[in-house]
Structure formats: structure tokens, C-alpha cells
């Protein structure tokens, strides 16, 4: 009997040890790095080799894309559409995705896993932003804002030839005027090819441009679940349309980084996080390439508007599964938001940290130790923005995403059609075409 008891005790102990060794695999869809070498993936490896190994957690990245793609995938999976992917344990999204879910109880309420003390470490505004219907479901890990990126190498050449300076880009009016001058300047470089003006400026999110623009001019951008189309909208439209019709604005699809990469545009306004995708090289059609310097500056403002800029940055949602899996996922998130790791992560991806301690203690040290000039310039612009701008947080509207998609698709299309009409009509048609296409655009948006 004693022998059997001893044997039993031994085997049960051994079995517990073995079970602990079988890791829980946590799958992640994130957006940090897109198709490039993602700094978050390196951090995840670091987690897997340290805390993960100790606690039997193995975090696996199964998709790195963008929040819109994740939005579509999450909705397809949540609605159990045929061919939909299985939801991962963790995914990055904006509250708008949570609002669009048929049932948000599929997500973990972080209040169940974070103590009051742990929650108070986050900046309160970020926790508030991640709270949907009283449930804290979007955990902030990094926040970004909109920044203006300039290909300084080419801009200097342009500046020398035309007298336009970087300071002219401080206001939207100045920027679009510069874009018009740039279009004329580039068109004039090849006199034998007519109408081959190059675009100086590319904006990643016109929805943000109009939204922050209207709000900064003291007018509401939304009316109910539609757009307000007040006079401020027109103020934002006109300089953009004039520059676009003259060829100074990039109107083809894709992200701002693409046309900067091929030298087809030289100034962009995009998320600070897109720093990762800006290459230090421009490749021209004959495969020659040129090393360039990318500098960052705060986002332009309207002459009569307030200094206001969009605050961006999605957060992590945890999908309900078993208590063990949820705990493992939260363990990873807690590790990622520890000031030290958080700052390491954000400064590689062009974001800002999310906890007070990280902001106060770790970030200044990290900025000082930055070596890459591109990143030094970005964080300079970031600090400048933080000191001088008011951050604008978009409202939680159910129609937000559909309005955003519709505006993005149509604004470029209408302006591109306008550009063709302008080439046919000539300088005299500028005002008329601008107004005509604004009306058409408004009509489409109000349908």
C-alpha cells in the first residue's frame, strides 16, 4: 500500500510538471509594422523567451496588417460568415470595430483582469477612449498623432528655385499654395511634355483633414450620423481643390509612403506611426535611386483655426476564450505596457507611450538615446505638437467607419475628375470646377 501511495504521489507530481510545460499559444493580429520588419514582433520574441517561457505562454503573430483590414476580418468572424478566419486571442482595433460588433461580450472587460491600481497607471483619457458601453475593452498600448513628413532633399531644391520655405507649410493655405507652385515648377522642367505636373503633397486621411479642420474652425463636422457640410468644410475644401486641380496633390490610391518612395510626391501628412514605412531612398523609374532625408514637422493648421490635431492609436482587444487563455493574453499585455517595454516599443514605431510613468521617466531617456535622425526629428515634432496643440478625439459613432470609407473613396475620385476637367477647361474654370465637384461630392455623401 505504501508503495502504491508513493508511486501515485510521484506520478501526479510529475504529471503536473509536464502539464505546465505545454505552452498556451496566444495568437495576435496587430498593425505595428505592416509588411515591414515589425519591431513588435521582436518584442514578442523577447517576451516568449523570458516571461513566456517561465509561465508557459507562447505568443504567435498570425497577421500584421492595418486596422481597416482587421475591422473587416473581425466583423466577418464575429458574424460567422463563410470563409471567415477564426478570431485570434488578441487583435488591434479602434473602438469603432467594437461598436460594430453584433455582440461585444465576445471581448474581455479588462476591469476583470487589471486591478484599480494597475488601471490608474494609464493616462485616464486613454482608458476612457477604450471604454465602450461601460466596458473597458480596448487596451491602449501606443498612441499616435498626425505629423507632416517632408522629403527635405527634394524640398530644398524646390525651395531654392522658388523661394517657398518650410515655414510656408505651417498652414494649410500655405501648404496648398506651395503645392500649386510645385506643380508649375515640375511641369516647367519638361517643356516638351505638357501637363506632367508632379504632386507635392499627399494626405493619408482626408476624413481626418476635414474633421479636424472643421472642428478647429469652430464648427461641428458631424450632424447626427451624417456630415454637417458647413462653411468650415468649404474653407477646407477650396485650397485643397485648387491645388489638386492644378496637379499639386497626389490623388491616386495607396498610402502616402508609396508616392514618397517613388519620388512622385514630397510632403505628406500621415500618422506618426507611418515613420516605419518611409524609406530613406527614392527609386526613380530608371531604377536609379537617391538617398533622401525625411524630416517631421507638426501638422499644418488653418490660418483662422485653432491648433488642433487628431489623436490616433488603436488598442488591443482580447477575445473571450478560457480563463487560462485570457489570463495568458493579459499577462502579455501587462508586460507590453510596463513602462520600460512600452517605451522601447513605441519609440521604434513612432508612437507615444500610454502610462504616466512611461511618459515622465522612460520617454525622455529614450528620446535622448535615439540615434536615427529620422526618429529624432519625429519626436521633436511630437513634443512640439504636444506643447502647442489640442488633441482631438473622434466621437464614437456607429456610422463613423462607413462615412470615413465613403469620404476617402470619393474625395480623391472627385478631385481626380476635377483635375481632368481643369486640364480641358484651363485656368479660367478653376473656381467653377472646384464648386461643381464639391457639390457632386456633397450630393454623394448625403445619399
Amino acid at each position: 500500500m505504501v508503495l502504491i501511495a508513493v508511486l501515485l504521489l510521484h506520478t501526479s507530481c510529475a504529471s503536473t510538471v509536464e502539464k505546465e510545460k505545454t505552452p498556451i499559444t496566444i495568437t495576435v493580429w496587430h498593425v505595428y509594422g505592416g509588411q515591414t520588419d515589425s519591431p513588435l514582433n521582436d518584442l514578442i520574441n523577447q517576451f516568449n523567451e523570458t516571461v513566456g517561457k517561465e509561465q508557459g505562454i507562447n505568443v504567435q503573430v498570425t497577421s500584421v496588417s492595418n486596422t481597416n483590414t482587421i475591422h473587416e476580418l473581425v466583423l466577418a468572424a464575429a458574424n460567422e460568415e463563410p470563409g471567415a478566419s477564426e478570431l485570434p486571442d488578441l487583435f488591434v482595433s479602434y473602438p469603432k470595430t467594437v461598436l460594430a460588433l453584433p455582440d461585444d461580450s465576445i471581448l474581455v472587460d479588462y476591469k476583470e483582469y487589471f486591478s484599480e491600481e494597475e488601471l490608474s497607471a494609464f493616462l485616464p483619457a486613454f482608458v476612457e477612449e477604450g471604454t465602450v458601453d461601460g466596458r473597458f475593452v480596448v487596451l491602449p498600448v501606443a498612441k499616435s498623432t498626425e505629423i507632416m513628413f517632408i522629403n527635405q532633399t527634394i524640398f530644398d531644391r524646390f525651395s531654392k528655385a522658388t523661394g517657398i520655405t518650410v515655414e510656408d507649410l505651417n498652414t494649410w493655405e500655405g501648404l496648398y499654395k506651395a503645392a500649386e507652385v510645385y506643380a508649375e515648377w515640375t511641369d516647367a522642367q519638361t517643356p516638351n511634355i505638357p501637363d506632367d505636373a508632379k504632386a507635392m503633397f499627399v494626405h493619408d486621411y482626408y476624413f481626418n483633414y476635414f474633421q479636424v479642420g472643421a472642428e478647429s474652425l469652430g464648427e461641428a463636422f458631424f450632424r447626427g450620423d451624417k456630415l454637417a457640410f458647413g462653411s468650415a468644410f468649404r474653407t477646407a475644401w477650396e485650397p485643397l481643390a485648387h491645388a489638386a486641380l492644378k496637379g499639386g496633390v497626389w490623388l491616386k490610391g495607396g498610402y502616402a509612403t508609396e508616392s514618397i518612395r517613388t519620388g512622385e510626391s514630397i510632403v505628406s501628412v500621415a500618422s506618426s506611426a507611418s515613420i516605419l514605412y518611409y524609406s530613406d531612398v527614392v527609386t526613380y523609374p530608371d531604377n536609379t535611386s537617391e538617398d533622401i532625408t525625411i524630416v517631421s514637422r507638426p501638422c499644418p493648421i488653418f490660418e483662422n483655426g485653432e491648433r488642433m490635431v487628431m489623436q490616433r492609436g488603436a488598442g488591443f482587444c482580447t477575445v473571450r476564450s478560457t480563463p487560462e487563455r485570457e489570463q495568458a493574453a493579459v499577462t502579455f499585455l501587462k508586460w507590453l505596457t510596463e513602462p520600460e517595454h512600452n517605451v522601447e516599443f513605441v519609440t521604434q514605431t513612432g508612437y507615444m507611450p500610454v502610462t504616466q510613468t512611461a511618459f515622465e521617466n522612460e520617454l525622455p531617456k529614450a528620446i535622448e538615446s535615439l540615434e536615427n535622425e529620422k526618429y529624432v526629428s519625429l519626436y521633436q515634432a511630437y513634443l512640439d505638437t504636444q506643447q502647442n496643440y489640442e488633441f482631438y478625439v473622434p466621437p464614437q459613432l456607429e456610422s463613423y467607419l462607413s462615412l470615413e470609407t465613403m469620404l476617402e473613396d470619393n474625395v480623391r475620385e472627385q478631385l481626380a475628375l476635377g483635375r481632368r476637367a481643369y486640364l480641358d477647361a484651363g485656368e479660367s474654370g478653376l473656381e467653377r470646377i472646384s464648386t461643381e465637384y464639391l457639390d457632386t461630392f456633397q450630393e454623394i455623401m448625403e445619399r
Binding site: L8, T36, D37, T62
Partner: protein, 530 residues
């Protein structure tokens, strides 16, 4: 030793002299029997191989999974190779057509952006179709020409198109976004495709080992020589992939370039999920074997859920009877592998295998779990048998001990009470009979007579004080006629009392009363009447 034996013998003899309870003795016999039978059963099970069947079962399960994996992966790669060969033929026809129409050789395409664009325009639909019809996440074609021969590194820069799916999150390829990884951007703009974050105009063929050699070797048919490259990191991205390299062969044997499809590590991971077996998570691996080592970093690893594999390990192979062991140095895996022919006429003589691997820890945990179950069952059975033995012993011994107790407490056993054991009942009857005869021999009254006396004595309590007084005169030998004078009552009152006394004591006449009194006196119990 002899001393010890002697000691044991003495102990045994001592134990024999000791008196032991019947129940304990019977229990001891039962337990001995149970233990012997129990040991015999375990021995039989052991000989029958019940305890060593796990390895065989594991072998069978893994062989089945390996077979499935091999069939699935073999078909997958073969179909993709067929797609690649088909793409090569179609590209060859299109490229040849343009070169003939323009009256130029491939060499003259160098430094000619317009012609390269035209060539890429005809290549694009073919590559796009291959991407959409094949179970792959990328398709490409490289021309043996570059847009600018004067550039540094022009010797390994080659024009071509590489399309990839971005944002893959499942093995299903419906509705996936195509990105433009390599190629002239005008085509991306025409087709409304996003440029990859790390787009480049041309391929760096040094990144694809064997590609240069394939381009420089004249061939008759593309099927003569094609290969799957080892896994390469896609420059500046977080992804890595294996590329199928098929030569694009012109009708005169000139190799125009290389084309094929891509399977990325991520896509492979989605396409080959782990199989959950009772022994642990089984991971599918396609990798080359070199010097008895499985090189995961050069091949592709399926989903690694439930393991610590990261697809970059080099595993030392130890062949075994039922399964092989694969050792990373830090972790051990068990599994099986089988060769898979995936290339033809390849420059390097790589042996590729498809393998199924399970973490050794999971298997150990499984066997320990199973052993634990066996031990639990055995222990439970043992306890049940012990309880049964205890119950049966008690049931058997109880009537005997009860009877014995009764023997000790009572002088005679009640007749008609049976123990259920004939021998015990016979013994009881025998003892009763013997007790009866003994009592008679000792002058004791027969019980029924004694009973009559007892009843008589008991009834005296029913008498009143006056009646008891009169009874006493009779006991003292007085006649009825003496009573009125002695008790200061009339004769009629005496008669009345007499009637009551007879009635209460259950006698019918004075003679009967006097007989009782005489007999009781003789038995020496007369004082009980007072």
C-alpha cells in the same frame, strides 16, 4: 542468513501459538488470496503488453498523420509545380511573341524601359491568374534583363513582377488583398494595386540561391530542371518564404528568366495547422535534412500551437524503433519523417522530408497520466476487494460470534433461534440438551413447575392486607375455624376472604392452597410469600 531464517521460523512458531480472532484469521486468508490473484492479473496484463502499448499506438497515430501530411503536402507542391510549369510556358509564348514583333533579342531589352513595361504588361495577367488559381500566397516572374545596366549591382538586379497577398490571416484565399512587391509601379497604378511597404523596382536575384544558375543554363523544356528554394527572408520585411523556381524557356532553348510561386512561412502555418492527438500537438514540417539534422530554418513549419517551436531550429535526429527523436538542444520532439521529392535536376543535392513532430513533454505527460489512471483503477479495485473481503468475513463470522456471546451470557439458549449455520445450531442444541440434563441432575425443578410456583408467588401481590393476614394463619397451620377468634372477625367474613384468596391465587380449594404452600415450603421459597 541462516540466523535470519531461524529467527523467521521462531517468529512463525510463536505466531502459531498465539491465539488469533476468527475474523482476523479469515480476513488474513482473504487478503492473501486477493493479493495473489491481483499480482497474477498484473503479471498477465504485463505479459500481454497492456502497459507497453503506448509506443506502438504513438507509432500508428504518427504514421497515419505522416501519411496524410505527405499526401496533402505532396499534392499541394505538385499542383503548384504544375501551375509554375504552365506559367512558364505561357510566359515564354508571350515574351517570345513580343521579342519577335519588336525584332529584338532578350539582351536588347536591357536599358529599354518602354519594352520592359510592355513585357511586364503581358506578364502581369498571367502572374495574377497563377496567384489566384494556385494555393499559394505569391507569384512572380523574373526576366533576365535589367532597366539600367550602368548601376552598381546591375549584374544581380533583374526586372520582373512579384505579386503577394498581404494581410493573410487564414489559409482561405478568397477576397485577399494583392500587393505589388516588385515591378514597374505604372502597372500597380493601372491595376489599382497597393505598393508593398518595401516595394522595389527590380529583384535582387542574389537573394534567391540557384536563380542565377538556372537563368544561365540553356534547357529544352522547363520540366527538365526546376526547384523549390530553401526558405529565404523577404528583404526588409518580417516574412520569409520558399519560392518555386521554374525556368522560362524559349523555343530555341534560351532561358528568358525564372518564374514560379511563393509559399510564405505564414501561409504554410495557416495551411498546415497542428493536429491535436491524445499524445500532444502534432506539427507538420517540410524541411531539408543535412548531416542527420533537420533544418527548420531552411524549410517551412506548420502551425506550432502547443509547442515552443519557432521554425528556426536545427534538430538533431536520433532514429528509434517506434519513433525518431529530434533534439534542438533545449527541447526534444518525437516524430517520424519521410523523404519527399520536390525538385528536379537541382544543383544542390538536398534531401527534403515531410515530418510530423510532437513535443516529447506532452507524450511523457500522456503516458504518466495513463499510468496514473491504471494505478488509480488498480487501487480502487484493490480497495473494493478488501471491502468485499471484510464484508464477507463479517457476515460469515458474526452468527458464530453472536452465538458464542449468547452461550456466555445465558445459561440456556432460547429454542427456535437459528444462527443460519447448521453446525452452530447443532452445537447450540447439543449444549442446551446437556445443560438441561445437568440441571435435573443437580435437583433443580423442571422449568414448567418452577414457573407455576413463580406465578403463584407473584399473584400474592394482588391480596389485600386482611387477606394476606388470613393466608399467613393458614401458612402457620391454623384451621378455618380458628380464624374468627384470631382475627376478631366473623366466620362469614372469613369465608368471604377465603373466596377472594382462592380467586386471586388461582386455586379452587383449601386443599389445593395448602398443597402449594407445602410444596413452596419444601422448595425453601416460603419467605417469598411474606
Amino acid at each position: 542468513m541462516l540466523d535470519k531464517l531461524k529467527e523467521l521460523r521462531m517468529l512463525n512458531a510463536f505466531a502459531k501459538r498465539q491465539s488469533m480472532g476468527m475474523q482476523r484469521k479469515l480476513m488474513f486468508y482473504w487478503v492473501s488470496m486477493i493479493l495473489v490473484i491481483f499480482m497474477a492479473v498484473i503479471l498477465l496484463l504485463f505479459i500481454a503488453g497492456v502497459f507497453s502499448r503506448d509506443d506502438e499506438q504513438l507509432h500508428e497515430v504518427m504514421e497515419l498523420h505522416l501519411k496524410n501530411g505527405q499526401d496533402h503536402l505532396g499534392n499541394h507542391l505538385e499542383n503548384l509545380t504544375a501551375e509554375g510549369l504552365n506559367l512558364s510556358k505561357e510566359l515564354s509564348r508571350e515574351i517570345e511573341g513580343i521579342l519577335m514583333r519588336e525584332g529584338v533579342s532578350l539582351e536588347e531589352v536591357n536599358d529599354n524601359p518602354e519594352l520592359l513595361l510592355r513585357l511586364q504588361e503581358v506578364m502581369y495577367p498571367l502572374i495574377s491568374t497563377t496567384l489566384q488559381t494556385g494555393n499559394c500566397n505569391g507569384a512572380y516572374a523574373i526576366l533576365n534583363a535589367t532597366i539600367n545596366t550602368k548601376l552598381d549591382g546591375a549584374e544581380h538586379s533583374r526586372s520582373g513582377i512579384h505579386l503577394r497577398y498581404s494581410n493573410l490571416s487564414t489559409s482561405s484565399l478568397i477576397n485577399q488583398t494583392v500587393v505589388y512587391f516588385r515591378g514597374i509601379p505604372d502597372i500597380a497604378r493601372q491595376k489599382d494595386l497597393e505598393l508593398h511597404n518595401r516595394w522595389n523596382l527590380e529583384f535582387d536575384i542574389d537573394q534567391i540561391p540557384g536563380c542565377q544558375e538556372l537563368m544561365n543554363t540553356p534547357l529544352e523544356r522547363p520540366a527538365e530542371c526546376y526547384f523549390w528554394s530553401r526558405r529565404i527572408n523577404l528583404k526588409d520585411t518580417w516574412e520569409s518564404a520558399m519560392l518555386l523556381c521554374v525556368p522560362i524557356v524559349g523555343s530555341d532553348g534560351t532561358v528568358y528568366g525564372v518564374c514560379g510561386v511563393e509559399i510564405s512561412a505564414l501561409y504554410f502555418q495557416f495551411s498546415y495547422p497542428t493536429v491535436e492527438t491524445q499524445f500532444g500537438s502534432a506539427v507538420t514540417v517540410l524541411a531539408p535534412v543535412q548531416d542527420n539534422r533537420l533544418l527548420l530554418s531552411d524549410g517551412l513549419t506548420g502551425s506550432v500551437n502547443g509547442t515552443y517551436l519557432d521554425g528556426l531550429e536545427t534538430l538533431l535526429i536520433h532514429q528509434g524503433r517506434y519513433y525518431n527523436e529530434y533534439d534542438t538542444g533545449a527541447e526534444q520532439y518525437i516524430g517520424l519523417h519521410q523523404n519527399l521529392l520536390i525538385s528536379k535536376g537541382e544543383v544542390e543535392d538536398d534531401i527534403w522530408v515531410v515530418a510530423i513532430m510532437i513535443p516529447q513533454n506532452s507524450y511523457t505527460a500522456y503516458t504518466v497520466d495513463k499510468q496514473k489512471t491504471w494505478i488509480m483503477i488498480a487501487l480502487m479495485l484493490f480497495l473494493v476487494l478488501l471491502s468485499l473481503a471484510f464484508f464477507l468475513t463479517r457476515k460469515f463470522v458474526r452468527p458464530i460470534t453472536d452465538s458464542l456471546k449468547r452461550f456466555q451470557q445465558e445459561e440456556t439458549l432460547e429454542p427456535g433461534v437459528f444462527s443460519g449455520i447448521s453446525e452452530v445450531d447443532e452445537l447450540a442444541e447439543f449444549l442446551n440438551a446437556r445443560a438441561r440434563s445437568q440441571r435435573l441432575e443437580q435437583g433443580e425443578l423442571p422449568p414448567n413447575i418452577a414457573e407455576l410456583f413463580d406465578q403463584f408467588i407473584e399473584r400474592k401481590c394482588l391480596l389485600t392486607e386482611a387477606e394476606r393476614n388470613i393466608l399467613r394463619y393458614y401458612i402457620d397451620g391454623y384451621e378455618i375455624a380458628d380464624i374468627p377468634e384470631l382475627a376478631f372477625i366473623s366466620m362469614s367474613t372469613v369465608r368471604k376472604h377465603n373466596r377472594k384468596i382462592y380467586e386471586k391465587l388461582g386455586v379452587s380449594s383449601r386443599d389445593e392452597l395448602m398443597l402449594y404452600i407445602d410444596l413452596i415450603r419444601r422448595c425453601g421459597r416460603l419467605q417469598e410469600l411474606f
